[in-house]
């Protein structure tokens, strides 16, 4: 067994152990203190609930995943394009950075009802909110990454008459990739939050909608089941980005094998 596989397995064992510990404490607390079902259901009720209507959970989970991933993709693409413009022109930097700061300072939750008015109760407003939640972190980190290129590298580019496009694609962008991935890790979690916020305020789909409906009928096990599913989804999405990072920037210091000892 290679060190890498052993590392992974021991990491997985830790995660499982922590989850089991949480479940035990949860179960013990519910039994010991006699907490009523509608406040905190025992964990077996939550899991039973999850498997009692798998189609419902699956359908709504799929909707939330699609919204979060769609919003994330838009945020990353738009964010990187904006960053390129910001890095290439002082004027564009002033314009976009001001606009982004203004947009970011508005709580997106406050905007969510307006998006329903503008875009209806379907997929689009949720996508827009998810993307808006995540875009600023992408821009800020990507700009920082593209700016922090070693000036000597740019001198090298100048003495070899590199075109502006080559400098962008062959120096600035790869140099910024570590920061871009750091931003993407934050962005994926933010777009899940955005998706849920969107589902809270309008529409009939998604785990956010399931939670709101369950709350209305004091169906706490169902709400908990949706939250549990949501946290599993968010974690899985986060680790997908981590995995992509190891695939795309194997050369970065954070990805290199750790020295022994």
């Amino acid at each position: 067994m290679s060190d890498k596989v052993r590392d992974r397995l021991s990491g997985l064992a830790w995660v499982l152990a922590i989850f089991v510990a949480i479940a035990v404490v949860w179960e013990a607390a519910v039994k010991f203190f006699g907490v009523p079902l509608f406040i905190l259901p025992p964990i077996e009720d939550v899991i039973t609930e999850l498997f009692s209507s798998p189609a419902l959970f699956l359908r709504n989970a799929a909707f939330t995943v699609a919204t979060a991933m769609g919003g994330f993709a838009i945020a990353v693409i738009v964010g990187i394009l904006l960053s390129v413009m910001i890095v290439s022109s002082r004027l564009l930097e002033r314009i976009f950075m001001t606009l982004l700061a203004v947009i970011h300072s508005i709580p997106k939750v406050a905007l969510a009802p307006l998006f329903v008015i503008w875009l209806g109760t379907g997929f689009e407003p949720k996508l827009a909110i998810a993307a808006m939640m995540a875009v600023l972190v992408v821009v800020v980190d990507t700009v920082a990454g593209m700016r922090s290129v070693d000036p000597e590298m740019l001198n090298l580019a100048r003495v070899t008459h590199a075109s502006p496009l080559a400098i962008l694609l062959k120096i600035r962008f790869p140099a910024a990739l570590p920061q871009i991935f750091a931003a993407m890790k934050a962005a994926i979690s933010l777009s899940v939050v955005g998706a849920i916020v969107g589902e809270y305020v309008g529409g009939q789909s998604g785990l956010g909608y399931v939670i709101i409906v369950a709350q209305g009928s004091f169906d706490t096990p169902r709400a908990f089941a949706a939250v549990l599913l949501l946290s599993i989804i968010a974690t899985a999405l986060f680790y997908t980005v981590v995995w992509a990072e190891s695939l795309f920037i194997p050369w970065h210091v954070s990805q290199r094998p750790r020295p022994a000892g």
Partner: protein, 281 residues
């Protein structure tokens, strides 16, 4: 191109009249202006380097030798004077130039071979035409088998060798080297000096080599130019008359130590001149 020279220069021949001159630096001034006043980095620097000559520029830190290199490379505009590479007046980085910087600045995301070929890509040349040359260059620098390694898998000496290959892959006739071995340990530095000397002896590029190492400068050069600081200027031009190719043993000869002793004395005097401004000038 008609050369319009300043009156002070009219007694000196234009570069195209002297067939052997490759780089001609004439009355170069460089002043950095900021809100806190201006700093004279280079004052009246003039120097001719012949085709195929190995010239070291030796000086303490802050003497403007790196600034001079950036001016020759076309990376810094001049405040006065002119620089010719061949018949071309330097306004932007000259073509047919290779630069080795102080740090290796390899791209972490490229393999060794791709790092060498980045010059070719940036110059807009075809990778295919230069891949064989890149591989053979790497081989001459003892890096055969390392083509697909990433920079972090290489030692400091290997990394700087890759940087040298990157500067030479398009076969420029002129190389600028800015303290390329300054960050390396003494043993690796000696090795690289020997390699560079042998390589230069084989293909006779024109090289301007910036350093603060006296022994390194004498070992490598045909001529050592000594610079002083405050302001940065040339204070001595010493021809090194030692037989080529030189081996490591040349360092133990009386002639070699005579040169290093003389250069050290010049530099010490110049340093003393800082505390007693005006005494030496």
């Amino acid at each position: 191109m008609a050369d319009v020279l300043s009156p002070a220069l009219q007694d000196r021949p234009a570069p195209d009249k002297v067939p052997d001159v490759h780089i001609s630096i004439r009355n170069v001034e460089k002043v950095y202006r900021s809100q806190r006043g201006s700093v004279v980095a280079l004052e009246n620097v003039s120097l001719d380097v012949a085709k195929g000559e190995f010239v070291s520029i030796l000086g303490p830190s802050g003497c403007g030798k790196s600034t001079l290199l950036k001016c020759i490379a076309g990376l810094e505009p001049l405040s006065g004077g002119e620089i010719f590479v061949g018949r071309q007046r330097v306004a932007e980085p000259p073509k047919d130039l290779g630069v080795v910087f102080q740090r290796d600045i390899l791209f972490d995301w490229r393999t060794t071979l791709d790092n060498v070929l980045v010059t070719v890509e940036f110059l807009g040349l075809k990778r295919r035409d230069y891949e064989a040359r890149a591989r053979s260059l790497l081989a001459t620098y003892g890096l055969a088998g390392y083509e697909n390694r990433y920079p972090w898998e290489l030692s400091g000496g290997q990394r700087q060798r890759v940087a040298i290959c990157r500067a030479m892959v398009h076969d420029p006739q002129f190389l600028l080297m800015d303290e390329p071995f300054g960050a390396l340990d003494a043993l690796t530095r000696d090795e690289l000096n020997l390699e560079l000397q042998n390589r230069w002896f084989a293909d006779r590029k024109t090289i301007i080599f910036i350093t603060h190492g006296i022994s390194e400068a004498v070992f490598l050069s045909d001529r050592v130019i000594v610079m002083g600081r405050n302001p940065g200027r040339i204070i001595a031009d010493v021809k090194i008359d030692l037989p080529r190719p030189r081996g490591v043993a040349v360092r133990d000869t009386a002639a070699f130590t005579a040169y290093t002793g003389r250069l050290r004395a010049i530099m010490d005097d110049a340093n003393a001149g800082i505390t007693h401004a005006g005494v030496l000038s």
